[in-house]
């Protein structure tokens, strides 16, 4: 008989995980079941190929980048903790959480979400989205549907609009400013049922 408690006790440091990410015990159990389902060989960790098995992800134009987000540079595997921590970025922003002045930034706050998605663009992690990096994302999204010239003009225009300090790249601050009016919580949150 699988009960919540017995599943939770299988996960090491689960208290710490819940504290850091804010997932409820029920959610952690669900995510653990999913982790185990993806880890078909029962290795205890996931590799990029395991993500590649997900059909809907394989048809996502930026599927490869999303998978890469789970693996720290140089790492070939991701364990359950890291898996949950990455997914925690997509938890809905909690409006009622009391602000502790000086407390650590919540992993699913607006700023954290923005930082996370900034990395989608800024693959070399130098703090700026260069023209080349932007082109790479555009190419992934549009591939053979548009010409190279069209891609470049779209990229140029996007940089022109966001780049306030005229260095031909988009820094995190400029990124944040451009997306000021965007409802990040709505666009970058996954809602769990109950």
């Amino acid at each position: 008989m699988g009960s919540t408690n017995s599943t939770l006790s299988k996960i090491p440091n689960v208290e710490e995980l819940m504290q850091e990410t804010g997932f409820t015990p029920a959610h952690i159990v669900r995510l653990y079941d999913r982790f185990e389902a993806l880890d078909k060989e029962g290795k205890g960790h996931l590799r990029p190929q395991d993500f590649g098995e997900i059909r809907e992800l394989a048809m996502n134009p930026i599927g490869d980048r999303i998978i890469a987000a789970f693996f720290s540079p140089g790492q070939e595997i991701v364990d359950f903790h890291s898996f949950v921590k990455i997914l925690a970025h997509f938890r809905p922003v909690e409006k009622k959480r009391p602000r502790d002045a000086g407390g650590p930034e919540l992993v699913n706050s607006r700023t954290s979400k923005l930082k996370f998605v900034f990395q989608l663009y800024d693959q070399d992690k130098d703090g700026k989205i260069s023209r080349r990096e932007l082109l790479q994302v555009l190419r992934a999204l549009l591939e053979s549907q548009v010409t190279e010239e069209q891609l470049e003009s779209v990229a140029d225009r996007a940089i022109q609009e966001a780049d306030t300090d005229q260095d031909q790249a988009i820094s995190f601050e400029e990124f944040r400013k451009t997306l000021e009016k965007v409802n990040i919580d709505h666009k970058m949150s996954i809602r769990f049922l109950r």
Binding site: A58, M59, I66, V117, Q145, K187
Partner: protein, 448 residues
């Protein structure tokens, strides 16, 4: 000491008599004594009580994870079009839509969901269907324990006996009929034998089958097409009519069954080598259909077992043969037992054991009006038309995923489709020729 032996002997005789008169004879002649009906009613009442008890228990212990029949996530985001910042223009936030969709699919994807058993909103007192069984009340656990006892020690032996009788009668009966010369008497007898034995097998599963729209029942020379959930589908359909089965010849017990069946009426069994040759397969089926006097062929175009909540893509091969298609929708009631055969998880024997230790199998079968290939329609479109009709009738989700995805990889064309959709939103249909502007407005149009 003869006393214990004579008691055993008497018991055995009683057992056999009960079996023959109360179960087999009515089964063979197609009428019912109403025992199963009463049994089902009692079951329903008990399960409703159990559900209420669990719901109460859940309210008292809020940390219990609740069963989620509709999946983990609430997908209330807009379509791709609604989520894009501005039509005709790229915005940095456009990528968020794809990012979120990707993450959602990592947490839960629609395809894998269909290849594992349906999660019920309430619990039907079978531990196997409840992920989150937790001790809620003593009474519930006692009832569950009683249920286990009844299912394994009373129902299981009864069902196994019936199934064995049914199968052996089928083999013996069809072999005997096979000796007769070809005539209408032979056909009539063969149909009788088949029906009788399938009915006994159905009792062996405590199957209650409701047939709807019997006037649309498949006729000779036609092709019957149905959704596939488990090997039991064949028994379910064959209880109400005779079909020519299609399949690969197996060795062992199955092979014996197949060979004796084909002696009394023409089924279409293929050697393993023939199966790979699509044209040979199609030709044999076409010949069978063309001789309009032969029994309707039974085909499951999904190609694999799906969990009875949705329909996967139909393989177009069956729709190219010609002839009239008789669609049939089969929907199992999950409250009484999970009929889905997860062939990755269970082999045939453990699957049958699970079936025979469920409460019952309650199933609705709808016969749909016949369909034929229309002018200007190709096999794929015809297949999709039939699929929507079946999905609509059976209350199943119509999915365009290929059942073969259970085992294989996604084709690149799907990714291209996504890219095409997105590009048509920001660049326009064929990409305008004016360099640089592509219909973008001057003022920076950010999100509202």
């Amino acid at each position: 000491m003869e006393d214990p032996w004579s008691t055993v002997h008497v018991l055995f005789q009683v057992w056999l008599t009960v079996l023959v008169f109360v179960i087999m004879v009515p089964a063979m002649f197609g009428f019912s004594l109403g025992v199963t009906g009463v049994y089902i009613k009692i079951l329903v009442k008990t399960l409703e009580w159990a559900t209420l008890r669990i719901q109460r228990g859940c309210k008292e212990q809020p940390s219990l994870p609740v069963p989620l029949p509709n999946g983990l996530l609430r997908r209330d985001g807009g379509s791709m079009e609604q989520e894009m910042a501005a039509k005709g223009e790229f915005a940095l936030s456009d990528a968020f839509y794809f990012y979120r969709k990707g993450m959602e699919s990592i947490v839960e994807d629609q395809v894998t969901q269909r290849f594992s058993s349906e999660e019920l909103a309430s619990w039907n007192l079978l531990t196997r269907t409840n992920h989150n069984f937790r001790h809620i009340s003593l009474r519930l656990t006692v009832i569950w324990g009683l249920g286990v006892f009844i299912r394994y020690s009373v129902l299981l032996p009864l069902r196994v006996t019936l199934a064995l009788i049914g199968l052996s009668t089928l083999v013996i009966g069809t072999t005997i009929v096979g000796f007769l010369p070809k005539s209408s008497v032979k056909n009539w007898l063969s149909e009788l034998v088949h029906l009788m034995c399938y009915r006994i097998c159905a009792r062996g599963l405590s199957a209650t089958i409701h047939y709807h729209n019997k006037e649309n029942r498949p006729k000779k020379g036609g092709i019957c097409v149905a959704n596939h959930t488990s090997p039991i589908d064949i028994v379910i359909l064959a209880n109400d009519g005779c079909y020519a089965m299609v399949g690969q010849i197996h060795g062992g017990l199955m092979g014996v069954l197949q060979r004796s069946m084909v002696r009394s009426c023409p089924h279409v069994w293929f050697e393993r080598s023939e199966m790979r040759d699509r044209h040979a397969v199609a030709r044999r089926l076409r010949d069978h259909v063309a001789a309009r006097t032969k029994l309707p062929i039974l085909i499951f175009p999904e190609g694999t077992c799906i969990n009875n909540t949705s329909l996967m893509m139909f393989k177009k091969g069956s729709f190219e043969i010609g002839g009239t298609i008789y669609p049939v929708a089969i929907k199992y009631d999950p409250r009484f037992g999970d009929a889905f055969w997860n062939s990755a998880k269970y082999n045939m024997v453990s699957y049958l054991l699970r079936m025979m230790t469920s409460w019952a199998i309650v199933v609705n079968v709808w016969y749909l009006p016949p369909m034929i290939l229309q002018e200007g329609e190709d096999a794929t479109q015809f297949a999709n038309r039939v699929k929507s009709a079946i999905a609509h009738q059976g209350g199943l989700l119509d999915m365009s995923w290929d059942g073969g995805l259970k085992r294989g990889k996604v084709k690149d064309t799907f990714k291209e489709q996504q890219q095409k959709m997105y590009s048509s939103m920001i660049v326009g249909e064929e990409g305008s020729d004016t360099p640089g502007t592509d219909g973008l407005s001057d003022a920076s149009a950010h999100e509202q």
